[in-house]
Symmetry: C2
């Protein structure tokens, strides 16, 4: 957990492990997106279009489950997490995902929005 | 396992359970596609563009695991399975998926092809 695959200088001394772009796998990305809570987080990050602290996501699950979901998203390459002071900040790895899998993230986001509308979610 | 949600008359007396179009959920579809073997099957069905018997898929897993993968694909709404005589025939539910989640299946298929090319798969 003390290595970092990307080259941007970290904002604080505490680093979190991320796959490099070329290590990201479609199956892991789809698995990460296949959970309703994680899809909710990804949709919120896409809508916010800027870093969000984990604490702004008031998911109807325990804190440890929330942490697990963010970890799955990070380790699959869907989000980047950095510490800023004591907050863990999250952002979508849109550039990496769009470069590897053109159109995939947008179609999943659109599908999630359509389904939420259809089911009243 | 003795009901069938769609209205097409079955080709044989043995029926397999399928979700109706409105019962298909994005999370289940993504989960079904998140497995390498299942993604391989879906890519092959898309390339064939016609019904394929389970037996033509020579997956490097046991017969029972193969059966499990096809069942996950069917129960998530990704494929339709019908018995024709003793063969179980499989086809993509492209119309249903495209209607519910426009562009999703195509972007996953394209991403799978790109990754296979990149990794030499």
């Amino acid at each position: 957990m003390q290595t970092q695959a990307h080259s941007a200088p970290p904002p604080s001394g505490r680093l979190l492990e991320h796959p490099a772009r070329e290590e990201i796998r479609l199956e892991s990305v789809l698995h990460a997106l296949a959970d309703p809570m994680r899809l909710l987080v990804v949709r919120a990050l896409a809508a916010a279009d800027c870093e969000q602290a984990c604490s702004v996501f008031d998911l109807p699950v325990s804190k440890s489950t929330t942490t697990h979901h963010f970890r799955v998203l990070r380790e699959s390459g869907v989000i980047r997490q950095v510490y800023r002071a004591t907050a863990k900040m999250n952002s979508l790895r849109r550039d990496d995902l769009d470069a590897l899998f053109p159109g995939l993230l947008d179609s999943v986001l659109a599908a999630g929005a359509l389904q939420a509308e259809r089911l009243g979610g």
